[in-house]
Symmetry: C2
Subunit: 247 residues, 2 copies
DNA sequence: TATCATTTGTTCGTATGTATC
DNA sequence: CGATACATACGAACAAATGAT
């Protein structure tokens, strides 16, 4: 419908759009500081709350990062540095992952029940599972990742070594499963969402940066899921790569 | 250091955390409405701006969605419905993708230069490329995706049919490349970020929902990148799956 | 070291507009 | 129409971090 009468968009959004455009065009370069709130008030003849709302928009878009007492700085953008290679390599009976991350804390093992997404992907509702949590870090870039392993009790009963050491490294668990006669297949599901407060702390996240989440299901040849791994990482610090082959 | 003296966190954050916790524990169920701003003001003895800041936090976390004149509603969360299967299948000389999406608009072809991330992944800086943009939709869920193909001029010169029809479907481009004698390999890189304003409109995004971005590089056997595809999709509506095989 | 100006962060109050029922 | 709800915008005051004097 051409000629529609539209309300003007709010002033704070207009200001946010202008600043975003200026950033995109390189008028404010990455690392440089935006004009102060007082300067923006005067330059655009708006109140301080309006300026602050506009900058809040830019923050939530991940375009700027504000520092108390200093100013709001334009964020550098580009492909995240840390590359998490999701390919699994196998030589004989042993497996290897492409991301040689270090453990920041000792693994923590708890028992719980598969629920929500985990239950859906494991195809086991309300079943008891071993949960192992790890906090990992890429030694070169410092990128952090939260890793979780879910082992259903039924699987642990079938393979006692898993019940004994549910906090074994994923590659070792693969080896145990293979040794128990399973022909392993993997499916990985990737999604993203905004971080919750506790995740912000664990993963060193800044405002406006989502987390990438991958769920890796290790299944037997018949497609029955055996274990589930979940990896959460800052989308700003790390990216995931997959090698794809035709089937 | 136990017993550290810490500044109390801001009231609006405390309130946001409490509400977020209440949502996580199911006190406010998905689809239900939060108490009104006035009610929250009275219940927690804070001012209206404080309540609004708290709700803005919840919005940016993707936990609630506010509707003018009605209230703030708890968002349903879980695994996104639309599954985008990134596997490539091959039968003889023809290829197929796992996501039979429909085109919402006709593909738009432009010419440009590889820059930024695209240049990095294509390993060709400032080289002229054909750019083809598509707006796709999953027919069953309605999830939308923005797809872009980058074909370097150098590759198009080598294979004239590509220069003639740079807007060919990806699977057809694969077939052309294979017919020209290339043994194709694919690498996919996944990242995520908060959407820019124009992306919000194209992809029907709501506040606090990031976009998933995948870059698929089609390379020759020697590893030289031939073409680049970029797919952007709402992390709330769609998820990506990969099949992983040991090498 | 101490102080001060600058800058962002938090919190209040108030008024008005606009969508929904 | 009116009541309720969220959205926008202004003003004011003080707190806290920073960097220079």
């Amino acid at each position: 419908m051409p000629g529609d009468i539209v309300r003007p968009s709010p002033m704070y959004k207009q200001l946010a759009d202008r600043l975003a455009e200026a950033i995109a065009e390189g008028e404010y370069e990455p690392g440089s500081v935006l004009p102060s709130e007082t300067q923006l008030m005067e330059r655009y003849s708006v109140s301080r709350p309006t300026v602050r709302s506009a900058i809040a928009e830019l923050r939530s878009m991940g375009l700027v990062e504000s520092q108390h007492g200093k100013g709001s700085f334009v964020r550098a953008h580009g492909l995240p540095a840390a590359v998490i290679e999701r390919t699994i390599t196998r030589s004989g009976k042993s497996f290897a992952l492409g991301w040689p991350a270090e453990e920041v804390e000792l693994p923590a093992v708890t028992r719980g029940e598969a629920a929500g997404i985990a239950a859906t992907l494991l195809d086991r509702s309300d079943e008891a599972v071993f949960i192992t949590d790890r906090l990992l870090a890429d030694p070169t870039t410092g990128a952090r990742a939260a890793h979780r392993t879910l082992i259903p009790f039924a699987v642990a009963e079938e393979i006692p070594s898993l019940a004994k050491h549910p906090d074994a490294e994923p590659v070792d668990i693969y080896a145990e499963l293979a040794a128990a006669g399973h022909t392993l297949t993997w499916t990985e599901t990737v999604t993203a969402r905004t971080a919750l407060p506790d995740e912000r702390a664990d993963l060193n996240l800044t405002d406006g940066i989502p987390i990438l989440i991958t769920y890796r299901v290790t299944a037997s040849a018949d497609g029955r899921p055996l274990i589930l791994e979940e990896l959460r990482v800052s989308a700003d610090r790390a990216r995931l790569t997959f090698r794809i082959s035709t089937e």
